[in-house]
């Protein structure tokens, strides 16, 4: 495909998306459900792309997403809740004197949240990343539980409001805010992946011993990858706080990590566009599959199985199917390209023909 055609396609795609966003923004109320799904998808996409950086590109199995998101979310929440609303939020114990006067604009708070997440990642990474990466999985998983119980602890009531959670976090003024921020985050990660450092990460994923023999300092690069990933996970957490408006420690349970993991696996480990696609599919699919939870009657026949909880069963079966039979996910380690898309449709068409031919020949 010619470069000019590609540019044209890109421009068309971007303008369609923009037009769609403007349309949604203008009809906010009617489409608030769709807007909220899009916002949530794109925030999860940042977390999934960040997870992909460690898990898909560097080959480290980290499961601390929920913990890092919690750090980012609480940083943003504590620093951006309007000062005048704080007395009402910290209604049980009041807020720490010093903190109660500090209010930051959204973006600096977000960056600070990412920064704290990265620092904590460093603290875990330094002891653990020298070892086999299996331990990273369990250490990060454990860490995110620790963070959750520390946030909820009564000792921190004056800072995190302990068990009572935080509310009145300023919400996004329009869909463009999360859209632009998330796109920026993903863009930065993509640029990193395509740089010399990104190649070093991939080398580590492919073969640690060989990478080391290429002069790549394993520990330093693993730590770099893990910390950058945690930084963006923290940012995703901060965005989530603003998206939700209220957070508490229960928001950041292990299931959140598993959600992100599912998105990454479904999209394909090692594919950024896969993660983004996966994020939209999972988030929207989750809502879309809600009907599984409602009793369904076709005509007069009451469909069995359809009742509360069935959706999550279907969901986990889908995950297992992807893992077992389509282990590469939707995109494998490939990225989206127009050629790929055209190829996909062509393939679909020719395969159908083949299939038809095959049936007649076979009989």
């Amino acid at each position: 495909m010619k470069k000019s055609t590609k540019t044209l396609f890109n421009i068309i795609a971007v303008s369609i998306i923009l037009a769609m966003l403007i349309f949604l923004e203008l009809n906010k109320r009617k489409y608030s459900y769709d807007i909220s799904i899009i916002e949530r998808s794109i925030i999860y996409a940042v977390a999934a792309v960040a997870m992909n950086l460690t898990n898909g590109f560097t080959g480290l199995f980290s499961l601390g997403q929920a913990g890092f998101m919690a750090i980012g979310a609480y940083t943003v929440a504590i620093l951006t809740i309007p000062v005048e609303a704080r007395a009402g939020v910290f209604y049980v114990t009041g807020m720490n004197e010093f903190l109660s006067k500090i209010e930051l604009p959204f973006i600096p708070a977000l960056l600070l949240g990412g920064f704290f997440a990265a620092v904590l990642a460093g603290l875990i990474g330094i002891p653990v990343l020298r070892l086999k990466s299996d331990y990273l999985a369990i250490a990060t998983l454990g860490f995110s539980e620790i963070i959750r119980s520390i946030i909820a602890s009564p000792q921190l009531n004056m800072i995190t409001n302990g068990s009572y959670g935080l509310k009145k976090i300023p919400r996004f003024p329009s869909i463009f805010v999360p859209m632009i921020l998330c796109s920026l985050c993903i863009l930065i990660i993509v640029m990193l992946i395509n740089s010399s450092y990104g190649r070093a990460f991939k080398a580590i994923r492919e073969d640690e011993t060989a990478a080391e023999a290429m002069g790549i300092n394993l520990f330093r690069h693993k730590l770099t990858s893990f910390m950058i990933s945690s930084f963006f996970t923290g940012i995703a957490g901060g965005l989530l706080a603003s998206y939700m408006g209220t957070i508490d420690s229960g928001t950041f349970k292990i299931t959140l990590t598993y959600d992100i993991l599912l998105i990454m696996v479904l999209g394909g480990m090692g594919s950024v566009t896969g993660s983004i696609l996966g994020s939209f599919l999972v988030t929207a699919g989750r809502e879309w599959l809600r009907f599984f939870d409602q009793p369904l009657t076709l005509g007069s026949w009451q469909v069995p199985l359809f009742r509360t909880g069935f959706r999550m069963v279907v969901f986990s079966i889908l995950l297992m199917i992807v893992v077992l039979f389509y282990s590469k996910g939707l995109m494998g380690s490939k990225e989206f390209s127009w050629e790929g898309l055209l190829g996909f449709f062509k393939n679909l068409f020719t395969r159908k023909q083949k299939l038809n031919g095959g049936v007649s020949n076979g009989k």
């Binding site: 070892l131 999985a137 454990g142 539980e145 000792q155 292990i254 993991l261 509360t308 999550m312």
Partner: protein, 293 residues
């Protein structure tokens, strides 16, 4: 803290530790052989709990217990066959993700079938009888758990060191490919490992839930994680290590709560893990493995 309170805490800690130990053994064995953190192990333990609720409703306890144990073993093997075996040559991360998937599936399936509300765990006669020793009070199961655990660990160690299948298991855990070349049937060894692990999880489940009296779809996940940590503490691959790790966690956690730090009782587990990895990455009883280049 008075002596009576102290002793009561000790009793609680040792009993909890015993149940942890039984689950930890399952982790350590599977990890030893497949290098897989079997995230679904804790959920298998939960499923065993539900199995008991339903079998004990229809059968007397002496029939129900074998049924539950056999059922747990069968489910364990089925999980291995369906979810792990097809991925044996896939990257390690895929198989761990598969394990997480199974864990999620079991939890959601349990929520769907039995609702999120906790179910009361039936009382097995004798186990729940309460004994009083002066100010101490505990049910029979509290005393039984650590003793049974130690007996089972002893049996397991004997089996691994003295029997043919035990030798095969050791061989597979040392070098997978070579063991295969030597004519060891990898599949049966792996299945056997899962069977043993599941059996212990089943026994652990009876002891644990009898003591705690209710099961919900998530009651396996956190104990599961903690037990993996116990296995790492003891040195992954080592069965006595897993037992010691289980006891350390159980007792440590109980005393942390006793001293008023319940907020950090879960954190304790994982801080212990990180400290251990810093000081002695191979765990208390683990052997150092060097990678062949």
């Amino acid at each position: 803290m008075s002596l009576a309170t102290f002793l009561q805490h000790c009793l609680t800690g040792i009993s909890l530790g015993g149940a942890y130990a039984l689950i930890a053994i399952g982790y350590t064995m599977v990890y030893g052989i497949l290098r897989l953190i079997n995230f679904a192990h804790g959920d298998l333990f939960m499923i065993a709990g539900y199995l008991m609720i339903f079998t004990l409703a229809d059968f007397p306890w002496y029939i129900a217990i074998p049924i539950v144990l056999i059922g747990t073993v069968v489910i364990g093997i089925v999980i291995e066959r369906l979810a792990y075996k097809p991925l044996r040559s896939a990257p390690r991360m895929s198989i761990m993700i598969s394990a997480i998937g199974v864990s999620l599936l079991l939890q959601n399936l349990a929520t769907y079938l039995f609702t999120a509300l906790p179910r009361g765990y039936p009382e097995i006669p004798y186990l729940k009888r309460i004994y009083q020793f002066g100010p101490l009070s505990a049910s029979f199961v509290t005393f039984l758990t650590p003793i049974l655990t130690m007996a089972l660990v002893f049996l397991m160690v004997m089996m691994i060191n003295k029997t043919k299948i035990g030798m095969a298991m050791r061989a597979v855990s040392k070098d997978y490919e070579t063991a295969e070349i030597m004519g060891i049937k990898i599949n049966s060894v792996v299945s056997f490992t899962f069977a043993i692990g599941s059996l212990l999880a089943g026994i652990g489940s009876i002891l644990y839930f009898t003591d705690r009296m209710s099961v919900n779809p998530f009651s396996g996940s956190l104990p599961g994680l903690k037990c993996f940590v116990a296995a790492v503490l003891g040195g992954i691959g080592s069965i006595p290590g897993a037992m010691i790790g289980g006891f350390i966690l159980g007792i440590g956690e109980t005393f942390l709560v006793a001293l008023g730090f319940s907020t950090f009782s879960d954190a304790f587990t994982f801080i212990l893990l990180i400290v251990m990895l810093l000081v002695k990455p191979t765990g208390l009883f683990g052997e150092k493995a060097t990678e062949k280049v």
